[in-house]
Structure formats: structure tokens, C-alpha cells
């Protein structure tokens, strides 16, 4: 099996590469690339994302044909894709970080700043928080409810259709921390930085 981590200059993806490589050891071939041909021929895609919503969308658009290729892969061909952090957020129609920016529009919804109750809660939301599982998700196999995951973000994805939400976490409000819609998976937390339980989520995705 070939799994591609999309390298589109979205900031630091070393940790994503390290953790997927660790879990995939000897079983799955991990490719890190922005090469359209390689992406097309892979079995699964990981879409990381760091920095702002706008900078990530801009970077995706910089690579000719990438957005269309990803869409064909995930929407038309319905092959498994995992978005991490801003990688998940970009599934939305629109994001409001830096400037109003159009997202990929794969799951209807918006990405807006976490309401921190006028400064009562610190932003970014950095650190370990418990996930409350909302529905069965293939990437949460053998992951207990209330497991700790590592977060670092100031914006949150608010999907229109709440049935896509697979887990939430409690901060200044209930924040969506993962979604599953058919073959589309996304985590707001960083499985690659969430210790053994995070590696388990990655393992579940690789085993799909």
C-alpha cells in the first residue's frame, strides 16, 4: 500500500512524516510529495496543515492541479484522506483566519476563531485535552473515550451537518476535534504528537 503525505510547503511536516514512518514500518510505503502523478496513484492521502487557513489554501493553490487532483481522489473516487489540523479545516467552504478565504468545500461549514469568552480562556488552545467521542469512527478503533490528544490551534471547524462530527473537546466551548464523512477523515488534534494513543489513530487510518 502507498500512502502519500502531501508536501505543499504548509510549514513543518517533519513530525507527521516521523510518526507515519514509525507506524508504517515495513508494512506501508510512505511517500512525501506534491507530485500530482504520485498522488493520483496512491491508496491513501494525508493532508497536513500548519500556519493560517489562508496561507495553507494559498500554498495548495500554488501547486498547479493539486486541488483538482485531491478533489478527484477524495470526492470523485472516494479514496481515504486524512486531514490534520488546518488540513481538516480546509475541508470547509470558508475560513476567516487572516482574511476571508475560500476552502475546499468538501464538508459544508466554516472555520472561525474560537470564542474564548473575552479573554477568559487563553488562545491558542495549546496542550492535551480529552476527546469526547460522538460517534463510531474507523480511526478511533481501540481508542477509549476521553483519551488525551495534543492540540494547538486558535480556529475551529464548524460543520453545518453535525452528524459528521466524530469527537469534540471541551475548552471555552465544545470544539469539534474530529470528523468522519464516508472516506473523509479529519482531526483538529495532532495524532503525530499525541503519544501512543495518537500513533494508534494513525495505525487505524493506515489499516483502513
Amino acid at each position: 500500500m502507498n500512502v502519500t503525505i502531501v508536501d505543499y510547503q504548509s510549514g513543518n511536516i517533519s513530525s507527521v512524516i516521523n510518526s507515519f514512518t514509525e507506524v508504517a514500518k515495513g508494512k506501508v510505503n510512505i511517500e512525501v510529495t506534491s507530485d500530482i502523478k504520485k498522488i493520483k496513484s496512491s491508496d491513501k492521502i494525508v493532508l497536513p496543515g500548519q500556519g493560517s487557513f489562508k496561507s495553507c489554501v494559498d500554498s495548495l493553490n500554488q501547486i498547479k492541479g493539486l486541488v483538482d487532483t485531491l478533489k478527484e481522489f477524495a470526492i470523485t473516487n472516494k479514496k481515504p484522506l486524512l486531514g490534520i489540523c488546518v488540513g481538516l479545516q480546509m475541508f470547509a467552504d470558508i475560513g476567516y483566519e487572516e482574511a476571508e478565504t475560500k476552502g475546499l468545500g468538501w464538508i459544508s461549514g466554516k472555520v472561525s476563531k474560537i470564542n474564548n469568552q473575552k479573554g477568559k480562556f487563553k488562545l491558542p488552545h495549546i496542550g492535551w485535552n480529552e476527546i469526547e467521542i460522538q460517534k463510531e469512527s474507523k480511526i478511533f478503533k481501540d481508542v477509549k473515550n476521553k483519551s488525551h490528544m495534543y492540540f494547538v490551534h486558535s480556529y475551529e471547524f464548524i460543520p453545518e451537518d453535525k452528524s459528521v462530527i466524530s469527537s469534540i473537546t471541551n475548552y471555552s466551548s465544545k470544539i469539534v476535534c474530529s470528523v468522519e464523512k464516508d472516506n473523509l477523515f479529519g482531526t483538529q488534534f495532532h495524532p503525530e504528537k499525541s503519544d501512543k494513543i495518537g500513533l494508534k489513530v494513525i495505525d487505524n487510518f493506515l489499516k483502513l
Binding site: 510549514g11 517533519s14 513530525s15 487563553k122 491558542p124
Partner: protein, 252 residues
């Protein structure tokens, strides 16, 4: 609920740990990679390397250590010491660091933080502030391990780095560092109250109660300690169980 983080810090000089852990299970007491792994297996919420290598020629050494550690530790890794340029940050992040901590370069030019956070995102930019008390409720920023006075007010500076896009502040009291008498709680309170980004408390931890004070009295989001963990007095687990017993939420 967001958990309070416990961050062990390893001082690294020329590729070796200074003030290393004295755990019996260690094969090589000076190997930073092995020590980081013990901490991460022991439940550390994050690992911090502070490179205290004096010369620039040895920058490669810390990068190699980061590269090896990042392949074995799957919790966030912060690296500080000698981070002065965008290239320094790029090198560390590519090697596998998740965050870099910037000290002198931020004091010299606060716009460097703006540039760095714009390029890499606030999530990986930690500004390390070394502060020393100069009069009642007044602290000043120092550089070079507390030797150089800058004349900059610590509270004003903290607000400014937040404005410039820092994701976190690593706050060290130079009065308390190395004393084992606890964090400077007044300083912590001032900084946590006047900023809206997470503050990591550092400098002065001698007992588990000090960690409690840093979080509960000082308002820190995370507590950093070096020597209480290095010498095996306490394990990370002890610290977490203690805090948990006093109703401070931690990741167990």
C-alpha cells in the same frame, strides 16, 4: 478540560546533557536522545532541549540530536538556545522540532517574532523571557543567562511579543533559577494576567509543591523543571500523581 502540562527540560552542551538524569536504567548518562525517550515514555507532556553550546560551529550537533529524538518521541519537542535567524528555525523544524524558543534574538529585535510567526505560524514560536526583579512589582528582561541587563520592562515585553504573534511565553525568573525555592509567583501572576497566550513557568522548582504553586497561584498553563527530574528525586509520574491528588488536572 485542557490539562496542565509538565515539561522536563534538558540542557545540552556540545551534544551532551549537562546535569543529566541519574536513572539507573540509563546506558549513557550523557545521551540526550536516550534521556528524552525516558521522559516521553514516563509521561512527559512535552520535551524541551536547551542548547547551551557556546559556539556557532556546533549548531549541527543539536540538529542531529533533534533529528534522532524526533524519530523516537511522539510528544511535542521544543528547542531553544542560539535561535537567531529564520534559517536556524527552518533547520530545527526540518530536523523534527515542533516549536522553537527564541530569547536574545527577540529582545534585540522584537519584529523578528513577527517575521518568524508569519512564516512558520504562531504554534511553533515560543518566546523565552528571562526576567529579574528590579524593584517592587517591576521586573526587567535580561539576556545571556541573566548577565546582560536590557532596560526592557518584562510585562511590557510580554505584551509586545504576544502582539507580534508569539504562541507561548516561556518565563524564567533569573532570581529563582537554580535556587530550588520555587517559582517567582508574583512575576508569573503579573505576566499571566497581562497576556492572553499560555505561559510556561520556569526557574526555581525544588519540590512538587512548587509545580502546584506555579499552576494554581501563578496561573501558568505549563510548568517546566530540570533538576528535580534529572537527579531522579521525582519522576514525571510522581509529579502528575501529586498534582492530580490536589485537584490540578493533568494528563495521567
Amino acid at each position: 478540560m485542557l490539562k496542565n502540562r509538565i515539561i522536563p527540560c534538558l540542557d545540552v552542551k556540545n551534544g551532551r546533557v549537562v546535569k543529566g538524569i541519574n536513572f539507573v536504567e540509563l546506558k549513557d548518562a550523557g545521551d540526550p536522545v536516550e534521556q528524552a525517550k525516558i521522559y516521553s515514555d514516563g509521561g512527559a507532556d512535552e520535551i524541551c532541549f536547551l542548547d547551551i553550546t557556546a559556539s556557532n560551529e556546533n549548531r549541527e550537533t543539536i540538529i542531529e540530536i533533534v533529528r534522532k529524538t524526533a524519530k523516537e518521541c511522539f510528544v511535542p519537542l521544543t528547542v531553544g538556545g542560539g535561535v537567531r535567524t529564520i534559517q536556524n528555525i527552518t533547520d530545527l523544524l526540518l530536523a523534527g522540532a515542533d516549536k522553537v524558543s527564541i530569547n536574545t534574538a527577540a529582545v534585540k529585535n522584537v519584529d523578528f517574532i513577527k517575521e518568524a510567526s508569519k512564516k512558520f505560524g504562531s504554534q511553533c514560536i515560543v518566546v523565552a523571557i528571562d526576567a529579574k526583579k528590579v524593584s517592587d512589582n517591576k521586573w526587567e528582561v535580561f539576556t545571556h543567562g541573566g548577565r546582560n541587563k536590557t532596560g526592557i520592562d518584562a510585562i511590557k515585553f510580554a505584551k509586545q511579543v504576544e502582539k507580534n504573534g508569539a504562541g507561548e511565553i516561556l518565563l524564567t525568573s533569573m532570581d529563582k533559577d537554580g535556587t530550588k525555592s520555587g517559582y517567582d509567583i508574583d512575576l508569573l501572576k503579573e505576566i499571566t494576567n497581562s497576556t492572553n497566550i499560555p505561559v510556561i513557568a520556569s526557574g526555581g522548582v525544588g519540590t512538587l509543591d512548587h509545580l502546584y504553586d506555579g499552576i494554581v497561584k501563578g496561573g501558568a498553563s505549563a510548568v517546566l523543571a530540570a533538576s528535580i527530574f534529572h537527579y531522579g528525586e521525582y519522576k514525571i509520574k510522581d509529579a502528575k500523581e501529586y498534582l492530580n491528588s490536589k485537584n490540578v488536572s493533568v494528563r495521567l
